[in-house]
Amino acid sequence: MSTVYVPGDSSARSVGADEVAAAIEAEAVRRGVVVQVVRNGSRGMMWLEPLVEVVTANGRVAYGPVTPRDVAALFEAGFLGGGAHELGHGDTDQIPWLAQQDRLTFARVGVVDPLSAQDYEGHGGLVALRRALVMTPAQICEEVTESGLRGRGGAGFPVGVKWRTVLDAVDLPKFVACNADEGDSGTFADRMLMEGDPFMLIEGMVIAGMAVGAHEGFVYVRSEYPDAVAAVAAAIAAAYKAGWLGPRVLGSDYGFDLEIRVGAGAYICGEETAMLESLEGKRGVVRAKPPLPALEGLFGKPTVVNNVLSLASVLVVLARGAQFYRDFGVGRSRGTQVFQLGGNVGRGGIVETAFGITLGQMLERFGGGTASGRPIRAVQVGGPLGAYLPPARFDLPLDYEAFAAAGAMLGHGGIVVFDDTVDMAVQARFAMEFCAAESCGKCTPCRVGAVRGVEVIDRIVAGRDVAAGVVLLEDLLELMAEGSLCAMGGLTPMPVRSVLQYFPEDLDRSEGTRP
């Protein structure tokens, strides 16, 4: 019997993976050969999706992008034995794009059957949890702090320090809330991890619970990710069955219950306090901080709020040790970051690598130019609230501090490529439009500022008193950045400022009027 992997990842499905899987099954029946099709996660090489892998005596061999029309020819070429075909890429692990990465957090994604508990344990799952079970909560917090792991959701706060704060809080009960509301355009790592290795998230949440003394957790997944919702829900059910969740985790005295909650199409619910409001069943309106969610979070109780990748990365720290993890990276950015290459890019997908390589290296080594074949004009890093950077800034190393110093941010690691047909005035306007559409409305700088921002950009682009318009816009940007309650209004100025700084010619269309 042959085993063939065809990703069940929603991105792979969006370009025909289901049809390819069905075609392989049908062709196998027609030829009277027994083929087991496993729906794995995606390896993250999106330009090769649907990527079909065949298990051979010499490891897994890759073919892609496969369409249903290619299937008969693949059988003809003997792909079940790794036979040569023009879509073949040889040993999957040796594909340079993949081999050059440091896949720590994403080690299992695309490799295992996402919902097989046996596969999970067979590929290093539960090692971290077993270790945590023989540690004290303080030791777990200490080890995570020691690793230098910072929150991967965007803010970059040290995970161990946050956990320690919740551990020291006296109020009970405590909660663990996973922020899986990955709303930033250009980011999809949380989704791929939830679809491709959902047990990893569950294990991370149980460990977080043990570290802080919580016995109840919630995963808040955005509704735009129905496949991730289904995968996490199925994994939670399987984890209860396996005894990884419930009153006696792995037979210990520690109990942890986990529930999934689904968002309802509000970007602002990716902001942690808005997410807590939403979990409580309210409008996703942000809260003022302090009090910190670590002390007064969900239902007013001490709550750990972590992003999917932060919780998953904790497993690497505990399974392989804080020192192992902190040996990756540079400066205060330790470990690996799961970057996501998207937009107009030749080879888009998941690039997990140590912090510190430059943006230019990332784009050259992995991105492979634009999909359109035209020159790159701008790259937006860190989602809709991140800066647009021109090729002159591709020397920036991908680490939190270097980006912050340049008026940019790494955020959740999304890198969106634009070619030279992009109109940066449209992008600046969009940043304001998006803020106006998604603002929760609680604070005036964000709610009103975004609307005024669209208006003033329109006036500038129309060429009506451009110099005065730019002064007004800069004043508005400062007000929003300094006066907003949360990062939505506070960071919307970042992409707009970057357009003013690097692409002023797109805003000022009336030659010679701008200073």
Binding site: S11, E182, T187, A264, G265, Y267, R283, L341, G343, G348
Partner: protein, 164 residues
């Protein structure tokens, strides 16, 4: 599929509504799960359900209405038979998303957020479907599709009734 509500609309029934509310009322923070469940059952959240939810959860009708109108997923009226979402996020903009969005409103004859008068189609914008390396991305009746330009969208919409 969670987002695929158009295929299983049940006609309004107070009994069914109460039963649906009751199935989720005992959770912590039950309002959002209750509203999701009602929408899944009826295709949208009927105004007649609002006082029932308020009573069952012991909150005000204003609280329920406030939540219902805050979240863009929750609908107060029946969507079209074919539901189309077009991603408006930056990653899709970088590969022709603006042109696709324009084509969608023109060819379907509705603005974003609108439903055709004959109830054939509802068009919504969405900010990111997590398919950022394979855009432009749309969903048709809850089914995610990548690398969709004008011609592909037309074909998907034409097939929309049978897909999903």
């Amino acid at each position: 599929m969670l987002s695929d509500v158009s295929l299983r609309q049940a006609p309004w029934s107070q009994e069914v509504a109460l039963e649906t509310i009751g199935a989720h009322a005992a959770q912590r923070g039950p309002l959002l799960p209750v509203l999701h469940a009602l929408q899944e059952r009826f295709g949208f959240v009927d105004a007649r359900a609002v006082p029932l939810v308020a009573k069952a959860l012991n909150v005000s009708r204003a609280d329920v209405y406030g939540v219902l109108t805050f979240y863009s997923d929750l609908r107060s009226s029946l969507p079209g038979r074919v539901r189309v979402q077009v991603c408006r996020g930056e990653a899709c903009q970088a590969v022709g998303g603006h042109a696709l969005a324009e084509h969608a409103t023109r060819s379907l004859g509705v603005d974003f957020g609108g439903t055709a008068v004959d109830g054939s189609v509802t068009l919504d914008e969405v900010f990111c479907l997590g398919n950022c390396a394979l855009g432009p991305t749309v969903t048709v009746n809850g089914r995610l599709r990548g690398r969709v330009h004008s011609a592909e969208l037309d074909a998907l919409v034409a097939d929309g009734g049978v897909l999903a």
